[in-house]
């Protein structure tokens, strides 16, 4: 497949209630294979009817991806590790990747997602997690360096300029905004909280809504690893 530009936006609605709760990646792989088969037979065909990004009626159970067609994951341009080393998603190819946009001062939703990652690691220890902060004001390189001391090495915490983070987020359809609060803990960031699954070939396959059980994600990764 041809590598696409990074500014491609997801085509589908991101409403959580349209996302099937129980999906299997086997169905997605079936769609992939079908897509490839169609492509091989007739390269001139415009689009595979199988890989329609918008689930409709009977097809909804078979094509669960809320992302749309599997496609090369957008690059994360301009993001850096806490030690300021530039991040390159390609360096992680060969491993399944779960990507998240969150922030460390988030006491509830983001730690819950981190807890899910721990659950996935129990089943898939080679999974690489990429955690991009949407709060560079507080998640400075220094702060992230301290934070990652308590986390596994295969969690890649990234920050960057506000503009670089905004562009990276938009490429994945992630939205976020600063919200002032009455809380002693200061402002919060409201944000979409999906986990994005990227396979070992760098293809963006699925997004998981907040609260997806770790076992479900781990099962998908197991299917990918068997591939």
């Amino acid at each position: 497949m041809e590598r696409q530009m990074t500014d491609q936006r997801p085509k589908t609605s991101r409403r959580a209630d349209t996302m099937p709760r129980s999906r299997t990646i086997a169905a997605l792989l079936f769609a992939l294979i079908a897509t490839m088969a169609v492509g091989a037979v007739g390269g001139a065909q415009e689009a595979s009817p199988v890989a329609s990004p918008v689930p409709t009626e009977g097809a909804a159970a078979v094509i669960p991806s809320p992302i749309g067609d599997p496609r090369p994951a957008p690059e994360l341009v301009g993001l850096v590790y806490p030690d300021l080393t530039p991040f390159d998603l390609a360096d992680l190819q060969g491993s399944p990747i779960l990507l998240y946009f969150g922030y460390t001062h988030c006491p509830d939703v983001c730690p819950a997602t981190l807890g899910e990652l721990f659950g996935v690691w129990e089943e898939a220890p080679d999974m690489q997690a990429v955690y991009v902060t949407v709060d560079p004001e507080r998640d400075t390189p220094e702060f992230l360096a301290e934070w990652t001391r308590y986390l596994p090495e295969n969690l890649h915490a990234l920050t960057g300029s506000p503009g670089a983070i905004r562009r990276a987020a938009e490429n994945f359809g992630v939205r976020y905004a600063r919200v002032e609060t009455t809380s002693t803990s200061g402002y919060t960031m409201s944000h979409t909280a999906e986990l994005y699954l990227i396979d070992k070939h760098g293809q963006l396959l699925l997004s998981y809504p907040f609260g997806t059980p770790a076992a479900e994600i781990a099962a998908d990764i197991a299917v990918l690893q068997a591939d």
Binding site: R14, R15, A16, S22, T104, H105, C106, P107, D108, V109, P111, A112, G115, E116, F118, G119, F143, E146, W147, Y150, R175, Y176, A177, V179, T181, T182, S183, T184, S185, T188, S190, H191, T192, A193, E194, P209, F210, G211, T212, P213
Partner: protein
């Protein structure tokens, strides 16, 4: 997958934790009753036969190693009385400030969090504090919250007397707490385990 009713049962060590929490919480409630003799009865009797009140179960605190970051505590508060009540505040020796918060997702899939003045505990129902929903925020941690330790939290209610509960620090929820919203509003009083 399909559970007609959420039950207190859970596998392995989690079940033991939950059971001990149950008994611990019940003991704490009974001790605060004005009838001192109820304590011995409390640990042996099923909840349904106990005096109406607020009963806290499944309390836990998420591991939080950095003092600069807030911690969060979760639990289920059963209200077996015929009157509505509410959690209106909390305090803990591990945090300078304790607040009540609600995380929620809007129509566009954005998760946000807001401080709330109270968490309702309707009559004959439960208040469920869980990730992605109501929670107790521990701000200005005075010590790291380390797995294997316990956090004491004193809960203040609109009507009921305050209760001090113990919320063990865990790295992950004690059960599939993320997935319990569908049926967590069951009245919960008839699905006790370990009460025979």
């Amino acid at each position: 997958m399909s559970r007609s009713k959420r039950r207190m049962s859970m596998p392995g060590a989690s079940a033991a934790v939950a059971l001990s929490l149950t008994l611990g919480a019940v003991g704490a409630v009974a001790a605060s009753d004005d009838d001192g003799s109820s304590e011995a009865m409390a640990s042996a009797e099923p909840m349904a036969s106990m005096a109406p009140g607020l009963y806290v179960q499944e309390a836990w605190t998420r591991e939080s190693p950095m003092l600069d970051l807030a911690g969060a505590a979760y639990m289920v508060i059963h209200n077996t009385t015929d009157g509505d009540d509410a959690l209106i505040g909390a305090s803990s020796p591990v945090a300078e400030v304790v607040e009540l918060h609600l995380s929620s997702m809007d129509d566009e899939g954005m998760m946000s969090m807001a401080q709330v003045q109270e968490i309702p505990i309707p009559a004959q129902a439960d208040a469920v504090l869980k990730p992605g929903s109501y929670h107790i925020m521990l701000i200005g941690l005075l010590e790291p919250l380390t797995e294997g330790t316990d956090v004491e939290i004193t809960l203040e209610f609109a009507t009921a007397e305050p209760q001090t509960i113990t919320a063990p620090v865990l790295a992950e929820p004690p059960m599939s707490a993320m997935d319990m919203d569908m049926d967590a509003m069951d009245d919960g009083m008839d699905d006790e385990e370990g009460d025979s």
